[in-house]
Symmetry: C2
Subunit: 764 residues, 2 copies
């Protein structure tokens, strides 16, 4: 069974009751982030039970030396990973000299966590009896400010319940942190300064090799029974840790409140000489505004996010909670204002995947950000890849391609490849196509025609050149083939003619040619610049077209479907439903060779292509392919169920779509994959959003027009979602019987609902 301790609630994630076995899972689920930094829901006070500590600063990474059993030419030297950063949330507590630690308390009652997604804060409260008999009631609220992106705030309230006690509080900064995930136990940080200034403290450190300079900071204010305590704290230095100790005597039922403001400033944004002054300025603001005012600001900031991003589901609380959790976490991870940042598969909730960028961004996240934010955000995500084009050119050259061909990395932080499995690093090249597709998708959705001439076209040329070289000509087939690739379904390696990859390659070649022509006509200056810069030769576009028109696609006449790759039908086609459940998930039960020769599909592959290029195929084709491939799909990637959900919706298999939706939306809340302790699946959360908006809502952009073709699961009363389409906030509301659209824009919008074209007037 999946985990089910999270209380269903429309706007909050709630845990009740203390269970040490759930602490790591909850640390993931109750994570906070503000796009610039993020942290797991670790306790502020000492906790000696099993815990996974993590606090991360966006863009601050370390090139950890690659670990590999058998080296192969072309492997990268390192894996860049976002690092666990100094701990600024820590507050140690002693009661009559005994450290306060939930793990050693004799009783913990009324334990409750709440992650309030509507307002963007996290609260934890409980009553505890310590082994020395002292009884405390504690309530902690914390948030990472959306407005002041370097700042977090904590209010830590303690009430003594049983009598008089001497309380010692030590809020601290701790640079003595490590990554759980480290290949060679290297030291990642070098700490250079600890400085105490009255109620404030600063800790300076830089990352080794990459030399990101970071100043962690804190300021603390203490309020006893409503009275501010003005006495200066004692400074406590211990190793790489700097604490401020306060001691006072409390009577029974008295309350003590510690406000801790902290966070990071780094030379990613500020001059490294000015880090402490900058931190001081931020603290000036924070202390002046105070916790409660900052919190009001936070609530308002989240309100404006929800205004354009919320999805409401009535009649299915778990489904409602799931989608809001997904939208909330995506926004905690990436807000889109920094084109040097991207979206790591686990965001700021764990170390796995190193916080690096995968093709998840282009295939899953961009549609979400495009539709829920200003189009600049999606443009920033595209620009991220444009800026990394030089590295993609280098990467292709390193693998033996001629200059001018670009191969984007499978995993990256700064544009260089990080991953080191040959079947993925060198062969999972479809990622290159997803990057081109995102350019197309962005242009289609936003109608922003400037991105391609300004930046996108260079990327398209590099990618087209890659495909043109990566295919080879098969004499016996008299067609171009693509040998030795790994498709999105990573349960096949080094296959020939993966249909999805071939199809994407063909599309890229034609699209690059088409865009070249378009730009040459409409943006001739840009065209000249790009031709010069890329040294484009006249024959190239024609050659791309020739290749595209002659790419081979494996297919089966018997089954009337395209084949995932050459030889797929040689497999023993036993459907997943006939597999012994004890054998699943197969990636935990079977050796790799057995997985490879099986027909089982980790995630949508041919169907991913049908999802991308829906309009290229008939409804009947969709049906045939869905019905052929779905029975072999094990969905052991978080990125799979959402695509199947969308396709099932399109095929009017609404209940199947709903089952996939539940799986994708509550993947982490219900811990389907038994790994939520490691962190959340952030990028697939965008897929969850798509399975409602594009799936149930049937939202598409066709010929520049926004179209909807909605359906609704039988057990829902209604649902509604908002999208930002070219400046219009469009709300679709669907009940079992009706569908309605609103347009909160400045002008009217012509849309298509089912088969009807209608004009939606502006509401104001």
């Amino acid at each position: 069974m999946n985990q089910d301790y999270i209380k269903p609630n429309a706007w909050s994630i709630i845990e009740e009751g203390f269970d040490a076995a759930r602490v790591k899972s909850s640390e993931s689920l109750f994570s906070l982030g503000n796009g610039a930094m993020g942290q797991r829901a670790n306790f502020e006070e000492t906790y000696t039970g099993p815990s996974f500590q993590g606090s991360y600063i966006a863009g601050v990474y370390y090139p950890d030396k690659t670990k590999v059993g058998w080296w192969k030419n072309g492997y990268p030297e390192y894996f860049a990973k976002v690092l666990n950063a100094p701990n600024w949330i820590g507050i140690d507590i002693w009661v009559d000299g005994e450290p306060f630690d939930l793990n050693s308390c004799t009783q913990v009652t009324d334990f409750r966590r709440e992650l309030n997604m509507r307002e963007g804060w996290y609260q934890r409260s409980f009553k505890a009896t310590m082994s020395n008999g002292a009884q405390l009631s504690v309530s902690v609220k914390r948030f990472l400010s959306l407005k002041l992106e370097e700042l977090g705030a904590i209010s830590y309230t303690i009430q003594v319940l049983d009598g008089a006690h001497k309380i010692r509080l030590e809020p601290y900064l701790d640079g003595g942190i490590t990554n759980e995930d480290s290949n060679w136990d290297d030291k990642f940080w070098n700490q250079t300064a600890m400085e105490s200034q009255g109620e404030r403290a600063f800790l300076k450190a830089y990352t080794l090799k990459t030399e990101f300079h970071v100043c962690s900071f804190m300021a603390n204010r203490l309020c006893h029974e409503g009275n501010w305590i003005s006495s200066a704290p004692e400074t406590v230095l211990a190793g790489e840790r700097l604490g401020h100790a306060y001691e006072l005597d409390m009577e029974k039922n008295e309350t003590l409140k510690l406000y801790k403001f902290g966070g990071y400033v780094s030379d990613r944004r500020y001059a490294k000489e000015n880090l402490i002054p900058t931190a001081n300025q931020i603290l000036d603001t924070a202390l002046e505004m105070g916790f409660d005012t900052l919190l009001v600001q936070q609530v308002l900031a989240w309100q404006s996010i929800w205004d354009t991003a919320d999805i409401e589901i009535v009649g299915d609380l778990k489904a409602q909670q799931g989608i809001r959790f997904n939208i909330f976490q995506l926004n905690q991870t990436y807000l889109g204002n920094d084109p040097k940042l991207n979206i790591g598969p686990k965001g700021f909730t764990g170390e796995k995947y190193g916080g690096s960028t995968y093709w998840d961004t282009e295939a899953y996240c961009i549609p979400f950000y495009m539709a829920t934010k200003n189009q600049e955000v999606a443009r920033n995500l595209l620009e991220y890849r444009f800026k990394q084009l030089p590295k993609a050119l280098e990467n292709a050259e390193k693998l033996g391609f001629d200059g001018g061909a670009a191969l984007y990395p499978m995993v990256t932080m700064n544009g260089e490849e990080c991953h080191n499995e040959w079947e993925i690093t060198f062969e999972e090249i479809h990622r290159n196509g997803a990057i081109a597709f995102a350019i197309y998708n962005y242009t289609r959705y936003t109608n922003d025609l400037t991105y391609i001439p300004e930046m996108g076209l260079e990327v398209l040329v590099g990618i087209a050149r890659f495909w043109a070289q990566r295919v080879s000509f098969s004499e016996p087939r008299s067609q171009y083939v693509m040998l030795g690739v790994t498709g999105p379904n990573e349960y096949e390696n080094n296959v020939n003619n993966n249909w999805y990859t071939n199809y994407l390659a063909q599309w890229c070649l034609l699209y690059a040619k088409e865009q070249l022509q378009l730009v040459s006509k409409k943006y001739s200056e840009d065209y000249e610049r790009i031709v010069k810069k890329t040294k484009l030769e006249e024959h190239e576009p024609g050659q791309w077209e020739e290749i595209a028109q002659n790419i081979y696609f494996p297919a089966s006449e018997t089954h009337g479907v395209y084949l995932q790759q050459d030889g797929f039908l040689d497999k023993e086609l036993i459907p997943v439903s006939d597999l012994d459940p004890s054998q699943r998930p197969i990636n935990q039960k079977w050796s790799w060779d057995r997985i490879l020769r099986s027909p089982y599909i980790k995630q949508a592959d041919v169907l991913q292509g049908f999802y991308f290029f829906e309009e290229h195929f008939s409804w009947e084709d969709h049906k045939k392919h869905f019905e052929f491939y779905e029975p072999f799909t094990v969905h052991e990637s978080s990125l799979s169920p959402c695509v199947h959900s969308i396709l099932a919706s399109r095929l009017d298999k609404v209940e199947q779509a709903y089952a996939f939706y539940l799986r994708t939306s509550r993947l982490d809340l219900d811990d389907y994959n038994k790994e939520v302790e490691e962190g959340l699946h952030i990028t697939s959360m965008a897929g969850t959003w798509m399975s409602i908006v594009e799936g149930f809502g049937g939202m598409r952009v066709k010929d520049g027009m926004l179209c909807f073709d909605p359906n609704i699961p039988a057990n829902w009363h209604s649902y509604s979602f908002k999208i930002n389409f070219r400046g219009h906030i469009i709300t679709l509301s669907k009940t079992q019987d009706e569908v309605s659209l609103r347009n909160q824009g400045k002008t009217g919008l012509r849309v298509r609902l089912l088969d009807e074209i209608m004009d939606l007037p502006a509401e104001r």
Copy 2:
């Protein structure tokens, strides 16, 4: 250019002149071994220049924890490797207090090394001027006794040339050694005792985890100007090192001779409580016999090896030196008297491949040992795999096969798999076929019909069951296919229907069935025992036959050849000769994906099958396949040129065969692969032997009869070789014009020479 400093000589490997850049290469080339232990040609005295120290004890290994970047189910936990053992050869020298070290001498002249292959010893001599001005002439001879397998002996002679000096000698044992190749810098040895007994010393240590207990020992005798020095040495303990120091004053031109006897006894052969007494007994014998008598014994022992194993080539000194070097090193590595031992690809000359067993043994080494030694030796090699059958059954089970199927490991020490690349560990399964083929090959050659009923049949049943489960039925082909394998050509991974693997599988299935029938008729008791033990069901052999008769083989009608695997013709078939030489070796220049989608063949694959099953194919088929595949073969495995040499001989392409022969026979002497510093390619040396005996000599066994079909390279005057065929020592001598055969057996032998059947009378 390849290296060429080794002086051509018929019986010796000779180096002249001191060059520090060659030290590591010569340490490999001048290695010594006696089957039970072996060592690189490290200097006895301190040497501070680049050096690679190695001394190895057969069968004493350590399970080094696996290093892997991305773990996959089924990977082994460790890689068992033969360890660098305590150093027993060390002799430190001080002249007037200054350490003697060739790396810091101001002049070194008359430096010469000789590895005398006829007599089995290694000598090094030189004159050196130290930085304090002292001039020495040094001559060192050393050997590892074939008769006393735990014993090595050194005579170290020093003459002072320039005047009177105080000489301090410190022969020592040193347990403070490490492996260069260690995954996690683990400690491999735990030293437990150092003991000095007069002129003798002992050092006890055991390997961690595997707990092999080893006693390293030494005894030293000093002779000054012909007079034995009787004074007891000073014992010097330093860390894990135990030395015996001698000091004396020498006048100009006086000579000092140190005899050092040393080696290892281990609990692989002796009780661990008795290791020091056993070492003492060995030293008793050694000291009683003395260096010179031991050396005479050594010369005689090598003489008897050469008596049945020598190959003489007249008119081509480099070719002569090459083949003797190969035969010599094979005999240094493995003598065949211990069925628990096997032949590591680098023997005792380096750490690479961990001294573990590969399919090299069955495919390459067994023919050599069968024909140059008593047939017991080859039987011991077969028995090695029989004893490891339980682990092969376990291994198959671990990979998801039903009980009773056996998959032998790709790399092993004790029967467990050591390797951890999925494309090899799980997919290079043809090794299983080589193990069955060796049983067939042994039976064919020796006519020993008892091995199969006694041991071999169980192995054949396990292997047949593996293949029967490993194939799958392809509906569209209505045939059995073998998906996801790696053939001998490791430049293709995870391919479908590798022809070689399919062919071997077919053969194994039929051979196992045939042998079951044979044993059931002639050895019914053995048959009953095996059926019971293997729980063989009645239907199984029939099922094997059904599968074998319906296995699919990829083929091209256009080219009239079998295809290496499905889809081979989709590749761009550009011959190696058209490759830019700067791109080679491709495994050092190209990324793995590029190698995989190229047509280039690392080592014989389809042609390996033609070599094994020559009689299944016509001469024309051989020609077509050789001419089709040879142009794409890059021979980047040491195991490749010999097979191509044999096939070229058969196809009367004698000069091509000769080119391959030179490449294989002088691979290490001329350092074709620029890696001889790491050690020698021992197992491929058996392939060199085959390329003369089976290649030029055309030796085959057909229907129980020994056959020859000899040719000769144009630049050779003549060659002759000896083989032991069923107790007859047969010598074939071939000149440009004539061929003759001798039979040194007790009885006559009927053989076929070219197309003529003749009776060879016994010579005595």
